[in-house]
Symmetry: C2
Subunit: 238 residues, 2 copies
């Protein structure tokens, strides 16, 4: 049986993937991280990554010992593929599945395939991703069934026994904060609140639930989840 | 039901993918092509592609009408991932599965995932690839089971009904020439023999079976297949 003690975490610098990283550090012997630079508008996600890694190391000597290399992988192919419908002779239209053809689906399939290829080369046997059905059920590449089918295809195609773990799959946003609390206590909750980035607009204004514009859907979801979590904490204490 | 009349062919400029392209032109209403530039040593494969496309158009007005855009996609991520074991702190070693960790597995998984993403954007519903178990059974990402699992994962992940066709899956090299004969007659066989590139070393010396170094495993396989095919042709005539 493959020893599943070495993990690779898809780490974007957001709340979800940072929680997954801490979760992985709490259960695996060695943890590396991978991030993707594909010309995304919110490059701030990528600039916050090194700070978060440094602060996770400061939080726990055990985590500092386990945390291995961070791999930042350029994937310009995502914008290449995105531009194909916009700049060429195909009209922008709503497709049979109800999504516009300007939307690039399958991004997580690509991320996980590249991560699996890197994991193979690095001798890592677990992939950890923050995909979640609860809040983003509109994205078919975040669904549990998709990811299980992909694990089968990746393992057949690479003759490996990689496990694809998605600890947030069935958690709501308040429960994701709760998971951080369980894994790393209040210090981790505060680290995630203060350092991670979720805002679609790339804003970094201070709020009680973390930094962001405070208006976009990602900020609204984050604020709601944090406040629910804090309310439960308070109720538990009284 | 999805109308499976528009295809995207993985086209490298080799014998197999050119045969697949002709096969696709003989059965689909619209056919586009995709090739990948990942810094491969034998860039000659990529320089022969435009010539082959031009000559296929000359061969048949029907094919000229059906043949749509050619997409050449840069995938430097393949060399990025390849270098991770070579340049970093992981020793080069034979892995549990008997393959060295310098080998990058899953390349076809990546090609097909990117092709599926492009197909989505272009409104193409069939992917055609020249993967084959007969001659390359050592590559797990060429196996029929892998590709069928990948079709499931891609379709779940993109909410599509893409069909992944591999017309060469169970054919030997002589049978691949036979397929070219059936699809496009002697003119296509000659086109494939004279214009496609298979040689690992990137050599373009003339032989009766096409161009190449004549010594590497790819040339040896190609020569053997062509000669078997020609012998059957001769026997059929006598």
């Amino acid at each position: 049986m493959t020893d599943h003690a070495r993990a690779l975490v898809l780490f974007s610098g957001g709340q979800d993937s940072t929680t997954c990283l801490a979760w992985a550090l709490s259960r695996y012997a060695h943890v590396e991280t991978i991030g993707f630079d594909y010309g995304q508008r919110h490059i701030v996600e990528l600039t916050v990554r090194p700070t978060i890694l440094e602060k996770l190391r400061e939080l726990s000597p055990d985590w500092a010992r386990k945390l291995g290399e961070d791999h930042l992988i350029a994937l310009p192919v995502i914008s290449t593929v995105s531009e194909c419908a916009l700049t060429r002779d195909v009209a922008i239209a709503i497709q049979d599945n109800g999504l516009p053809n300007t939307f690039v689906p399958g991004r997580n399939l690509l991320f996980l395939t590249v991560a699996a290829m890197l994991a193979y080369r690095r001798g890592l046997t677990v992939l950890v991703g923050g995909m979640c059905e609860t809040d983003f059920s509109g994205y078919p590449d975040c669904r549990d069934g998709t990811l299980k089918a992909l694990q089968v295809a990746l393992n057949l195609g690479m003759a490996t026994d990689l496990a694809l773990e998605t600890p947030l799959m069935w958690l709501g946003k308040a429960q994701t904060w709760q998971l951080a609390q369980e894994v790393g206590g209040e210090a981790l909750v505060n680290l995630i609140r203060d350092e991670t980035h979720t805002c679609y607009l790339g804003e970094r204004h201070w709020h009680d639930w973390g930094r962001g514009c405070g208006e976009c859907p990602a900020c609204a979801l984050r604020m709601k989840g944090y406040r629910e979590f804090m309310q439960h904490l308070t109720e538990d204490l009284t």
